[in-house]
């Protein structure tokens, strides 16, 4: 295990962990912000952009994340767009994860009985108040388990960024393995880091769910 006591390798793993955390947090936060207006828009029975959103959601969920990352990494320069690897990977990961979150939140909204909208209208609530006070809290409560488990998927997805030239945790491990040939030790340490990140997300989920004391089924 002495390779893990080597300060150079410790520094590489630490830097990789920081990059993994940055990518994960940005992807989770941004995709959860983007998804709310999209999910609310999809509640309209007809809208000009419905078809576009449905098409986007299908495409983003049918294509492998890695193919999306390759498209941005190899494809954009061909179009004369030169992005740094990190923003390029972030766009790909956000593009994919938003589509999944959209489906979860949309089905959350759709599980709310339609009568509630009528009731809110009858009570004279404006559309904004109806959504903010009635629909959104319920939709999130229904979608929360899926949204949290998708957050773990996003952390796992960030490891794919190692294949498009980003020095995150998995990439750091492959560099150390190629120098030391100690694959098992290094990868188990890396696995523990990923387990800890997942544990934090699960703890957040429990904290969120224990605050939802009303309307338990």
């Amino acid at each position: 295990m002495n390779i893990l006591l080597d300060p150079t390798y410790q520094q590489m793993l630490f830097d990789g962990l920081v990059m993994t955390l940055i990518i994960s947090v940005v992807v989770i936060v941004v995709s959860n912000i983007l998804v709310l207006p999209l999910a609310i828009y999809m509640q309209r029975p007809k809208g000009v952009f419905r078809g576009v959103i449905v098409g986007y959601s299908f495409f983003a969920r049918a294509a492998p994340v890695l193919a999306l990352l390759f498209a941005l990494y190899y494809g954009l320069p061909r179009l004369g767009i030169y992005l740094e690897p990190v923003p390029s990977a972030l766009i790909g990961l956000i593009f994919a994860s938003t589509a999944y979150n959209l489906e979860f939140l949309r089905s959350g909204f759709e599980s709310i009985p339609a009568g509630q909208l009528d009731a809110a209208k009858a009570l004279g609530l404006r559309p904004f108040a109806t959504y903010w006070k009635v629909m959104i809290p319920q939709a999130y409560r229904l979608a929360a388990p899926s949204l949290f488990s998708n957050a773990i998927q996003m952390v796992k997805g960030s490891s794919l960024a190692s294949l498009v030239a980003i020095d995150e945790l998995t990439a750091a491990s492959t560099v150390i393995i190629s120098e030391t040939y100690k694959a098992i030790e290094v990868l188990l340490v890396v696995s523990v880091f990923y387990l800890l990140i997942a544990a934090v997300i699960i703890a957040l989920q429990y904290a969120y769910e224990s605050r939802q004391t009303f309307g338990r089924r």
Binding site: A62, A63, A67, S159, S162, S173, A183, S191
Partner: protein, 214 residues
């Protein structure tokens, strides 16, 4: 366009490999996931069950790429060379078993425990109670989560390109490197994935047949 036609046979071969690997992983995941969910049925707090839960938590939290590397790079270190395809099957099957175990466990919870006890009280062997009473009921209940995961398996196979398994995305990458036409190849690749995945998606969206008499 000529590039696309020239590379199409190789891409199609790659697609066949993707389908074959997915089918193997799907089968292993379903069979062992189901078996694990039936281990110590009704004794969820037993040590064995806690061990299975820990196994499942590990393989669901660690990225597939890391699990794949663990077998691909780690195998030779202990004197076992699994090779690219072997590592891929082992790694993805373990992750798949971890997921399918959770799906089947959830479905099993929806079935009253009394059915199992009733089966045993009637003198049926355990295996018959599992195979003829419980499994036929949990398969339709688990279908949605199970097939959703299976669809993901086809797409996740693209990760195997990292250990040079010549599935769709690996050939795509070679094509891009050889011809510098990224969009042609990625469009073909994504088109192939959509072709493979769409039947599963349609099957999954279909209204479930009433499999359990109410």
């Amino acid at each position: 366009m000529e590039i696309a036609i020239a590379w199409l046979p190789r891409l199609l071969t790659a697609a066949v490999l993707t389908i074959a690997l997915s089918a193997v992983v799907f089968t292993l995941s379903a069979v062992f996931g189901l078996l694990l969910s039936l281990v110590h049925y009704g004794r969820e707090k037993s040590l064995l069950r806690r061990g299975i839960e820990a196994f499942s938590a590990f393989f669901r939290s660690v990225p597939e790429l890391v699990v794949l590397f663990l077998f691909f790079f780690g195998g030779p270190q202990i004197g076992v060379d699994f090779g690219p395809v072997g590592s891929t099957i082992i790694a993805f099957a373990l992750v798949g078993i971890a997921f399918d175990y959770q799906v089947f466990k959830g479905a099993l919870k929806a079935i009253p425990f009394g059915q199992y006890e009733a089966g045993l009280a009637l003198g049926l062997p355990k295996s018959v109670v599992f195979l003829r009473v419980l499994v036929p009921q949990i398969l339709p209940l688990a279908r949605k989560g199970w097939i959703t995961y299976a669809i993901g398996t086809v797409k996740r196979m693209s990760i195997a390109s990292a250990v040079s398994v010549s599935e769709i995305l690996y050939v795509t990458k070679q094509g891009i490197a050889a011809t510098n036409a990224p969009f042609t190849f990625l469009t073909l690749a994504v088109g192939l994935y959509i072709l493979i995945v769409t039947p599963l998606l349609v099957f999954n969206e279909r209204k479930p047949r009433q499999a359990v008499a109410r």
